[in-house]
């Protein structure tokens, strides 16, 4: 270990993993193509993503506008029927799918950034830094996220997707930090990390170039879970009435359906599509995640 320390060692190391990485990449692809869970999950998620991106362009009116006859069940003109006020539910659904992906990416992204940063620093630095960050993680972990969010967002008079995402990110990161920390902890003591440290590289550089790439699959899966969690949390907030003001989202659709007693009126087309949309998107993300796990983790593959 000592005779390879220094700049030439690291330069050589940077050269060698290339082919190995490529071979592993094609092997991963080989298993990915044969994993039904991954393919089905990915297919459904991509289909919804496409719907969220393209769908709104085919809706020529504002989703909250009163366009049609009132309380129509699904028919040829209004695919998912209309609300008690004559709003087109299909239009709301399509815009809602779009905002679902936005809040997932945004809320999940903020949580991912905080969680991985805390996790990497705690796992790599160790000692007193780890001690303090761990304490912080545990404190935020114990606080019930949705209830904190309700109290914090209740005071805002104007709410948007952006604010909602930031708040969700700020409260849902702890478990990701924990997971990343435990992985980083075991990677931080590897020889090649020691070597990088001996060569005098910056901590941040070591984390991003030596440690993070070795747990990239893990990071991807953490992000997917955070994404799903953010979507569900946002739906809960929207349902309580703390959603974006004047926005459209699947959670807000559920809220207005309950507020205008769609249940008692038997207007199933008002409350089934939004919940089904959330369930299918998040559910297929989770199944996609299991597929990824099986592809990256040989132990689970033989099932």
């Amino acid at each position: 270990m000592t005779n390879v320390s220094g700049a030439p060692g690291t330069a050589e190391k940077a050269g060698t993993p290339e082919p190995a990485g490529e071979r592993r990449g094609s092997e991963t692809l080989h298993f990915a193509r044969r994993n039904p869970k991954l393919l089905i999950g990915l297919g459904i998620v991509l289909a919804f993503l496409l719907l969220g991106i393209i769908g709104p362009f085919f809706v020529d009116h504002d989703p909250n506008q009163y366009v049609g006859p009132r309380s129509q069940p699904p028919n040829g003109e209004y695919w998912l029927g209309t609300t008690t006020f004559g709003q087109d539910i299909w239009a709301q659904f399509v815009y809602g799918v779009r905002s679902t992906f936005l809040i997932g990416t945004f809320g999940g992204g903020v949580a991912f950034l905080i969680g991985t940063t805390v996790g990497f620093v705690a796992g790599y630095k160790g000692g007193i830094v780890d001690e303090i960050l761990n304490m912080l993680t545990n404190v935020v972990l114990v606080l019930p996220a949705l209830v904190v969010l309700i109290v914090a967002i209740a005071y805002l008079d104007v709410r948007g997707l952006f604010i909602q995402g930031v708040f969700i990110g700020l409260t849902t990161w702890p478990w990701a930090a924990r997971a990343v920390r435990s992985q980083a902890l075991s990677l931080a003591t590897r020889d090649y990390v020691d070597l990088a440290r001996l060569s005098g590289r910056r901590t941040w550089k070591i984390i991003t170039t030596e440690i993070a790439p070795n747990m990239s699959s893990y990071l991807v899966m953490s992000f997917i879970l955070l994404f799903g969690g953010a979507v569900l949390t946002a739906a809960g907030l929207d349902f309580i009435g703390l959603g974006p003001s004047n926005g459209v989202s699947l959670g807000l659709m559920l809220e207005s359906a309950v507020a205008w007693s769609a249940l008692q009126l038997g207007m199933w087309w008002w409350f089934i599509p939004p919940g089904l949309g959330i369930t299918i998107i998040v559910g297929s993300l989770y199944i996609l995640n299991v597929g990824l796990d099986e592809v990256f983790n040989p132990k689970l593959r033989e099932l």
């Binding site: 761990n134 304490m135 404190v139 005071y155 038997g266 559910g283 199944i287």
Partner: protein, 331 residues
């Protein structure tokens, strides 16, 4: 062991302090005037009463004093059990309103959590590594965990409540009854309890089953399981050992999932208009009753902390290693 518990207690104390500080900070540092926005929603027609309420709330917020002083007086009020007075149900103390709602939430939450945990674990352990079951249980389980609590509640309320008409869908008991210990009241209470309980139970079940299934697969890879298998031990015996080992992370999981489960209970209550904390949150939001809202927040946090502590003690009792090592294994 004492070091472990002491460490945990310290984290909980810290969490409580953080929660109280959040509670104190939010109304003071968010934009807007909390007192005015609160009173503008509370429909008070009598100008004299409005005047009295305004001076009262200004005094409670103590906005004319310095920040550290405000913080200290906030704590001293809290430790005296004074959570302020509600605007929604003026002049009733917040504490009384919350204490009236807590039994309903607990009655819903405790059976749902415990039953879903026990049954989900059994089911997950049973499904692991048996091809057919695994391929059906896994997707169903994931879809269940992805289901928003309020949506499943809506589906159940609509299908079993309104279309089939088997169970009532609103309230904690029939509106024509008054709470007492008669048979009529208790049966009405139970029939109103079934649907909210069921929706919480079903969503939570999926998560536990998946967690257990994954843990069992992991345990069956372990050396002791392979060794037992090589010795020719019956499948059931290996499973039993794996199950006992897999239980431990599931107990920790219970503590981690607690926040999500409580959130689920609150959302479910709103759907069924169940007279617990969730419905109280909704009505306090609608009438901008921030004292009530913050009181509920503190109550939920205290509940979570107590539950976490109980889980920690159970963990120490069940896992002999934490007792021997005397270190904080899971933290």
């Amino acid at each position: 062991m004492w070091r472990y518990i002491g460490r945990k207690l310290f984290v909980y104390l810290l969490t409580f302090i953080v929660a109280v500080t959040i509670n104190w900070m939010i109304p003071r540092f968010m934009p807007g005037d909390p007192v005015r926005s609160m009173l503008s929603r509370a429909q008070v027609s009598n100008p004299e009463a409005l005047e009295r309420m305004t001076t009262y709330y200004n005094e409670v917020f103590g906005l004319d004093r310095s920040l550290p002083q405000q913080y200290l007086s906030f704590w001293s009020g809290l430790l005296r059990g004074d959570l302020g007075i509600s605007t929604m149900l003026y002049p009733e103390p917040v504490l009384d309103i919350i204490l009236r709602a807590v039994p309903y939430t607990l009655g819903l939450l405790l059976p749902a959590i415990l039953l879903s945990w026990i049954i989900g674990n059994r089911f997950g352990a049973f499904a692991a590594r048996s091809k057919v079951l695994d391929n059906t249980v896994l997707p169903v389980g994931y879809v269940l965990t992805a289901t928003p609590y309020m949506w499943l509640a809506l589906l159940l309320a609509w299908s079993l409540g309104i279309v089939a008409g088997v169970f009532p869908v609103a309230g904690g008991y029939s509106y024509s009854l008054r709470p007492d210990f008669s048979w009529m009241f208790i049966s009405s209470l139970l029939s109103h309890w079934v649907l909210p309980f069921l929706s919480l139970f079903i969503v939570a079940l999926g998560g536990w089953a998946i967690g257990m299934r994954n843990m069992i697969i992991y345990e069956l890879e372990a050396d002791y399981a392979n060794y037992l298998q090589a010795l020719g031990a019956p499948r059931r015996l290996i499973r039993r050992y794996a199950f006992r080992n897999a239980m431990l992370p599931q107990i920790t999981g219970l503590a981690v999932q607690l926040g999500t489960l409580i959130a689920g209970a609150l959302l479910t209550e709103i759907v069924f208009n169940y007279p617990g904390l969730g419905t109280l949150i909704l009505s306090s939001l609608n009438s901008r009753d921030f004292f009530l809202l913050q009181g509920i927040f503190l109550f939920v946090v205290i509940g979570v902390l107590i539950a976490n502590f109980i889980i920690d003690i159970v963990y120490v009792l069940i896992d002999p290693r934490t007792r021997v090592q005397m270190t904080g294994g899971s933290s």
